[in-house]
Symmetry: C2
Subunit: 188 residues, 2 copies
Amino acid sequence: MGRWQPDARARLQEAALALYGERGYEATTVAEIAERAGLTKRTFFRYFTDKREVLFWGSELLEQQMVAAIEAAPASASALGMIGAALDAAAVRFEEVREFAGPRHRIITSSPELQERELIKAASLAAAMARALRARRFGDTAAVLAAHTGTTVMHVAFEQWVEDPNQTAFQQIARDALAQLREIASTG
Amino acid sequence: MGRWQPDARARLQEAALALYGERGYEATTVAEIAERAGLTKRTFFRYFTDKREVLFWGSELLEQQMVAAIEAAPASASALGMIGAALDAAAVRFEEVREFAGPRHRIITSSPELQERELIKAASLAAAMARALRARRFGDTAAVLAAHTGTTVMHVAFEQWVEDPNQTAFQQIARDALAQLREIASTG
DNA sequence: ACAAGTGATGTCACCTGGTGCCATCACCAT
DNA sequence: ATGGTGATGGCACCAGGTGACATCACTTGT
């Protein structure tokens, strides 16, 4: 056994998720989170750049996997086809963390500050996918539009998925949403 | 003449825009902004809820005008057609403030904190447009997707517009972008 | 004309998020 | 033993943000 309790980061995440859920995000203090994890405020800020970031650890991984899906898509695929592949990749990740998705989503929804952070993560994801699409030889505007469309579809699908009593697979919900988008874009 | 200098809000906005531009957003203190406007930190926070909001005054107006455009669109229009009408309305507003658009945009681009705020304003706008589309009898998912697509197109067009040496009209750039979206959504 | 009221501002104390700097302390390599 | 090394604690400090109260010029009712 090491000289400190292991997994300080994970302990901080758990403590934060619990306290944010119990008292609300704003009513929770960083000092309280740290104390619950057996650490100090100062140490909290060594693991997370701010009070919000503790809820968004792992978003780079999702980004990487979705980008990888675009890079691996067949050359014959359209821009939105590649976005579909990226959404399939996201589905895998989401199903892995389904257990925490609900509480985490409710916390984020309850705080504008946290929604802002979620939005900028989505924007970062969109930018990464846009770069990947450009690398697949799509035009600049087309790449950006398709990428942002992808995150929009992802969010719409996510909200349906996280509140779905039937536990429908994310992949299916996302595919339906993407199909609906194609429909409204081509109609009229 | 009143007992206080008039237009406190406008003075604070000007001071903030100037200081953010000169020293950068993070290096500027609310107390400095207030001092430059001949006021106090406390008064700044009576006009703006936080240090970021001073750059986003008037976003509700844009929202209202775009929503109004959707409400006024012909019943025969498609969802994206109504979004197009909303973008035309946005174009009017943007041309009015073209003078400040460039500096303001550069400041926002330079700070993640400000980008977060801009993103949540866009999300609010999208939600408002989605409500308007639902009122026009579009389905839930279609309304949300079309609305978010609209803000995406708006942002893509805005970036091209604000940096365009030819001063092309926003309306034209936005219409082109929307047409491109329709293309990528229908191809493949 | 005088008193009471009103509304924008100032003042002050305070809390919390966030950071820089240095101390500590267990373990590890030589 | 001796000297790193790396995660942590402690402390001082700044800035954003808020609540409570004071001020002060002008307005309104009588």
